[in-house]
C-alpha cells in the first residue's frame, strides 16, 4: 500500500508565562492511501495538536515545532508556502474539528455555508452546489428544513454533522475527523460512521479518526495508534491492538473501555494523572502509573520496537520478548 501521510518524530512546544509546555514528544506514524487510521488516547495527550500540526493550523496557536517531518504525498508539508498551503488545506486534506463552532459562522444558514464551501473547492454553479448540499445532508440524516436554520437553531449533534458534511463534500484525499461523534446518539453515530466508510470506498479517501471512544474506533478503523503524553506508545492493526494489546497503558484503556457493555456500581479508572507538560519528559511518561515499571523506565525513553507490524514503545514489553 502507498504511504499518503508520513509523520516522523514530530516534537513541539508552546511557550507560556509559566514556562515551556512540551506538548508533542516525538510522534511518528504513517497513514496509507484508502485506509482508516485511528488515534485514541487520554484527554490532553496531544491528539488535536497532532492533527492541527498536520494541517499547519497549530502554529497559529503559538505551537512551535522543534524537530520532525510531515510528508504528504511525497511533499514536505512544513516547507509549503502560502499558496501551496491554500490548496492543501480544505482541498487535499479536510478536517472535521472537535468544536463545530470554530468552522461555522453564526450569521449564515447551514445551507449557505455548505454551498459556499462546495463552491470554493469545486467548480460548481449555485444550483449544483445546492443539490449536492441537500444530497449529503440527507445521507447524514439531517432533515432538509434544518439546512435553512442558523447555527443557534440547531442541536449539538446537527452542528457536528453539518461540519462533517462540509468536510466530506469536497472529496479530499484525506479527512481528519477530530472526535466527530461525541454529540451523536448511537443510532445516528452508526450511520455517520458508515457514511465515512462509504466515502472512503467510493472516493478512495484516507481517514484519520481521532476519538476516545473505543467502540467507534473499533468499528471503522483498520489500524489504531494509542497516544500518551505527546507520544504514540503503541500502533497496530485493529485486531492486533484490541485482541493483543501490549503496552500497559493500552491494556488499562481497553479494560476501562468496558467493551462488553453494561456497568453499574463503580467505574474502572486508571489511577494517577498524566505528567505535567511543563516538565521535560525523561524516561517513559507512563512509568509512575504503570504496574510493571522498572528502574530503567524512569531513566531512559523506551525506543520503538516492531514485531509483525505491531509497534510498541515499552521496556517491559521488550524484556518479555527477549525471554520468549
Amino acid at each position: 500500500m502507498n504511504r499518503l501521510l508520513w509523520v516522523e518524530d514530530l516534537s513541539g512546544h508552546i511557550d507560556t508565562p509559566k514556562g515551556r509546555l512540551h506538548i508533542l514528544n516525538g510522534v511518528s506514524f504513517c497513514v496509507h492511501e484508502n485506509e482508516c487510521f485511528g488515534i485514541i488516547g487520554e484527554s490532553g495527550s496531544g491528539k488535536t495538536m497532532t492533527a492541527l500540526s498536520v494541517l499547519r493550523y497549530a502554529e497559529r496557536l503559538g505551537f512551535q515545532i522543534d524537530a520532525g517531518a510531515i510528508v504528504f504525498e511525497g511533499e514536505d508539508v512544513l516547507g509549503f508556502n502560502k499558496r501551496r498551503l491554500l490548496h492543501y488545506n480544505g482541498g487535499r486534506v479536510a478536517v472535521i474539528p472537535q468544536d463545530p463552532m470554530t468552522s461555522l459562522d453564526p450569521l449564515f444558514t447551514a445551507e449557505s455555508q455548505l454551498v459556499e464551501t462546495l463552491r470554493t473547492h469545486k467548480k460548481l454553479t449555485v444550483k449544483q452546489a445546492k443539490a449536492q448540499a441537500y444530497a449529503i445532508a440527507e445521507k447524514m440524516r439531517i432533515a432538509p428544513e434544518k439546512l435553512k436554520c442558523y447555527p443557534f437553531q440547531l442541536s449539538g449533534g446537527m452542528l457536528q454533522r453539518i461540519v462533517g458534511a462540509a468536510a466530506i463534500a469536497c472529496h479530499p484525499k484525506m479527512i481528519i475527523a477530530d472526535e466527530p461523534t461525541t454529540a451523536l446518539d448511537v443510532t445516528v453515530q452508526l450511520q455517520y460512521l458508515k457514511l465515512l466508510r462509504d466515502i472512503q470506498d467510493e472516493y478512495g479517501a484516507a481517514i484519520v479518526f481521532i476519538s476516545h471512544d473505543m467502540h467507534a474506533v473499533s468499528m471503522i478503523c483498520d489500524r489504531i495508534a494509542v497516544m500518551y503524553a505527546g507520544r504514540i506508545v503503541e500502533c497496530a492493526s485493529k485486531n492486533g491492538l484490541l485482541r493483543n494489546p501490549r503496552h500497559p497503558y493500552t491494556r488499562a484503556l481497553i479494560r476501562s473501555a468496558n467493551l462488553s457493555g453494561e456497568v453499574r456500581g463503580k467505574y474502572d479508572t486508571i489511577d494517577g494523572v498524566p505528567p505535567d507538560p511543563l516538565a521535560k519528559p525523561v524516561g517513559c511518561s507512563f512509568a509512575d502509573r504503570c504496574p510493571h515499571s522498572m528502574p530503567r523506565c524512569f531513566a531512559e525513553t523506551p525506543p520503538k520496537t516492531t514485531r509483525d507490524d505491531h509497534e510498541v514503545c515499552c521496556w517491559a514489553c521488550q524484556k518479555d520478548e527477549s525471554k520468549t
Binding site: 463552532m101 428544513e145 460512521l193 484503556l253
Partner: protein
Amino acid sequence: MNKEIHALEIDHVSKTYRNRTLLGKTSAVKIIDDVSFAIPQGKTLGLVGESGSGKSTVTRLALRQEKPTDGSVRFFGTDIWRCDKERVRDFRRSVRMVFQDPYSSLDPRMKVRAILSEPLIVAGMDDKDEIERRLRRTMTKVGLASDYLERFPREFSGGQRQRIAIARSLILSPRLLVLDEPVSSLDVSVRGRILNLLKDYQRTNNTAYLFISHDMASIGFLSDCIAVMYFGSIVEIGSADDVLQNFRHPYTEMLIHSSVAASLSDRDAEPPAELPSHLNPPAGCAFYGRCAYRKDVCSHTPPRPAEIGDGHFVSCHFAEALAAVRGKETIRRDGEPEYAL
C-alpha cells in the same frame, strides 16, 4: 400522592418556536410536545434520545432560560415563572449547569482561577485561604493539576475544558445540577473518574441531577430514573431497571442494542429512515419510519402513554405485544466483545 420532595417537576410542558423566514413569513415549529417528569431531591433522572429530539431544549426550559409555551416548571414546589423576584434569585443560586459545548461555555478572557472563584465570591466568601483551598481541592477532584489555574480556557484540550466546566458547577453546592452530555468529550478513564465523582458528590450533598447523555453505560451508572425522548416527546419513562432491562419502546430497544459493540453490516438491516419534519409533523407515531414492528394503525394514530408497570410509561400501540416477541431478552451483561465487521 407521593411524599417525596421533588427538586424539579416538568409538568405537561410544550415549546413552540416562531421564526421569521427571509420572506417575512413566520413559521411555528413545535419542538417539545407535552413533556412531563419529576426528579426527587438527591436523585438522578437520565434523559436519552436521538440527536435533535429536544434534550437541550428541555434543559433550557428547566433552567428558566426559556419560557414554556404551555405547562409549568416547578422547583421544590414553586412555579418558577409564577413567583416573586426573591424566589427567582433563590432559584438561580441553587441550580447549576454543565453545557454540551465546553468551548463556548467558558469566558475566554478569564483565567481558570477567576472562573472558579467567581461563584464563591458572589456567594459572599471572602477568606482568601479558604477560597484557595477550595479551588485546589476541586481541581484535584476533576483530575487537573493546580497550576492549570493560571491558564486561559483556550489553552486546554476539549476534555480538560469540560472538566473545568464541571468543577465550576460543583464548587458551590447546588440543589439541582443539569448536565448536558458532560462526559461525551472525555476518554473512558477520565469519564469514569468524573462519573464516580458525581455519584459521591450526590450522596454527600443530596443534589438532584438532570443528566443527559447518549452513552447508555453512563446513564445506567448514574440514573435512578430514565426518560427516552424521540422527536420532542417522551416515548418511555420509568425506573432505571425497568427501562434498561424491561424496555418496551422500539426506539429504546434500538438504543440499547446498538450501544453494545454492534457490527456495521448488521445495521444495514435497519429500514431506510424517513425523517420526521417539524414543518409537517407526522400524523401518527413519529418513530413509524424506522420501526421494525410498525402496523397500519401507527401511521395515522399517535400512541398515548400507557402505564405498563409501576411508574413505567410507554407510548407505543404495541408495548404489550413487543414484550411477548422479545421474551426474556435483556441487555447483554457479559461475553466476548466482537470487533470484526
